[in-house]
Amino acid sequence: MAYFLELLVNGALTGLMYSLAALGFVLIYKASGVPNLAQGAMVMAAAYVVWFFTSLGLSVWLAIPLGVATMFLFGLMTERVLLRRMVGQPVIMVVMLTLGMEIVLRGLVPGFLGAAPKPLDIGIGLAPVIIGDVFINREYLVGGVLALALIGGSMLFFRTRTGTKMRAVSDDHVASWAVGLSVERVIGLSWGIAGIAAVGAGTLWGAVQGVDWTLSGLLFPAVAVVILGGVDSITGVLVGGLLVGILGSVIPGYLDSYAGGSTRDVVTSLIILVTIVFRPYGIFGREDIERI
């Protein structure tokens, strides 16, 4: 039982950290309908940026705000320079463009800042939080709480004036234009916030595994999270993250010894497949109604 609880809690917390990586994806998709497959690379870039500022001798608490500022600007720039020109193109072109971005970032960031893994210490001790016989990973605990806070913050943000504009834009671009909203600015803002979310994910995962290009591999669990939760739902990110994390921890915890290999990728793939076959728009996603 303690074993199950431990798998459950740690799985839920890692799941929350996955949702942090997925949050940016959802924000951008919600605002502009662009599936940003470069979100993993943005997480990597954010982690590198934070590491870069700490390597200049800055404390990590100064490096993170600087990283937030950098990545916010980066998000804005990306939207302005690249994505805005792709408006009206088929989704596959946009997907390919974000994949192209991923390749560029994979070259640019490790190329200039060094490909070997970098340490990023954010001062969370190694000692686990022990409750009974359940060991809870302290990094995941901090990460999970922070992820909750950031996701909650985004939910609240959608209740502000700017957030309302964002909801309007995500509902209907043309109608938003008609009532005088700047659709471009709102979409740009969503990229900026995605950049901020990437700093959160990058810092936490960078602290866990070290900073190198493999951080961009977070895209795969993030995709599972958004598919399960619904690509355009913030609540979906939260619930999807929890489910992906828990299933990806509990099932391998019991099955791996028998399967003779790690089944986590299988679980993640199956989550994606089953969701798409049975409920393509995810748990909380909005069902698209298509007209001929």
């Binding site: 020109r85 994949l99 991923e102 560029v104 994979r106 190329g111 993640t268 001929i292």
Partner: protein, 357 residues
């Protein structure tokens, strides 16, 4: 001037529907065919074996994916897995004593069956969701290959291709392998160019443009979507087998990883969706540009033109390659095939700027 159009008047439907109605195009095709056939005579082994041979095979792979993505409009981000199924089944079939000719067919059939299961997702969803579903399939197939030693070839996870012969001709030296791959690429190209002119091809295009509308005019989306996956996976599987036997000759799971799927999609998109020449141009771009860039930048470094660290030097090709993909998408979303088409159209009327029509 280069393309003489005077005197081309079609009096029969057959001639109007010919693949290359303009003589200049026909001459180009003939010239290319002669060059390709004579390539082993004037191309060094380095370029034949590491550039042209993989280019042909990847072009065939890109065409089979283009059939699915370009004609039928079904996105597929797990095509490397389909090719892997073909490669592994062909090797295991040949090992089991099946003749190579039949093993190729068998590889196609196995890939087509499993690939159609991939396609089952397409009956439910499209666009982004189809991308994700096929991506998940890719991971599943990878996992099975890596975790079942009987498939991947034991502890070393390497499967060597046995010596084979096709219709009595051995396929072992570079030249033999080149001609075999060339034959396959030509076959696929002809198939691809002609399928567009059949009712099957037109039905696929109807589905791509709007599946509901296609259903209204009597094209069954269920059937044709599955047919598209079936055909494309069959060709993809055989191409995977050709890749294994003619190029790699020792198959490891990494040769068909997720990155390869992405490269295949890039080939199709950069080349131009649904275009035969685009398949070749796209495959050439994705396969050869990183290699050229690596050699070019390393050459610059060695001759002392640039002073940068080895780390940056190794990453520069990646940056330029990604930037070129982005650049093509921004400047010419229809791909290299469209650029070719623009040039051809300009030459059609050259030295004038516009044609009358």
């Amino acid at each position: 001037m280069f393309y003489r159009l005077s005197g081309i008047h079609h009096t029969r439907y057959e001639s109007a529907r010919a693949l290359w109605p303009v003589p200049a195009d026909r001459w180009q095709v003939v010239a290319l065919a002669v060059l390709a056939l004579a390539a082993p005579l004037f191309v060094s082994n380095l370029y034949l074996g590491s550039y042209i041979l993989p280019w042909l095979i990847w072009a065939a792979a890109a065409l089979s994916l283009s059939l699915l993505m370009g004609l039928a409009g079904q996105l597929h981000f797990g095509f490397a897995a389909v090719m892997a199924i073909g490669a592994y089944s062909s090797i295991h079939l040949v090992r089991a004593g099946v003749p190579f000719e039949l093993a190729l067919l068998g590889a196609g059939v196995v890939s087509a069956l499993i690939g159609t299961v991939f396609g089952a997702a397409a009956l439910r969803v499209k666009g982004l969701y189809l991308v994700m579903a096929t991506l998940a399939m890719q991971y599943l197939v990878d996992w099975v290959i890596i975790n079942v030693p009987a498939i991947s070839g034991g502890a070393q996870a390497t499967l060597r291709t046995p010596a084979v012969s096709f219709l009595g001709l051995p396929i072992s030296t570079l030249i033999e392998r080149y001609y075999f791959a060339l034959g396959w690429a030509v076959l696929i190209t002809l198939f691809f160019m002609n399928v567009k002119r059949t009712s099957f091809g037109r039905a696929l295009v109807a589905i791509r443009d709007k599946d509901f509308a296609a259903a209204v005019i009597g094209v069954d989306p269920f059937r044709y979507k599955l047919m598209a996956f079936l055909t494309s996976s069959f060709i993809g599987g055989v191409t995977g087998a050709v890749l294994a036997f003619c190029y790699y000759r020792a198959v490891t799971p990494e040769q068909f990883s997720f990155n390869v799927s992405i490269q295949l999609v890039a080939m199709v998109l950069v080349g131009g969706l649904g275009s035969a020449i685009g398949g070749y141009l796209g495959a050439g771009f994705v396969l050869l540009v990183p290699i050229f860039l690596t050699n070019f930048i390393a050459g610059l470094g060695e001759s002392g033109w640039i002073y940068i660290s080895q780390n940056l030097m190794a990453h520069l090709p990646l940056i330029f390659y990604g930037a070129m993909i982005i650049g093509f998408l921004l400047l010419e979303p229809l791909g290299l095939a469209k650029i070719y088409d623009n040039i051809r159209k300009a030459l059609l009327v050259w030295p004038f700027r516009h044609s009358r029509s």
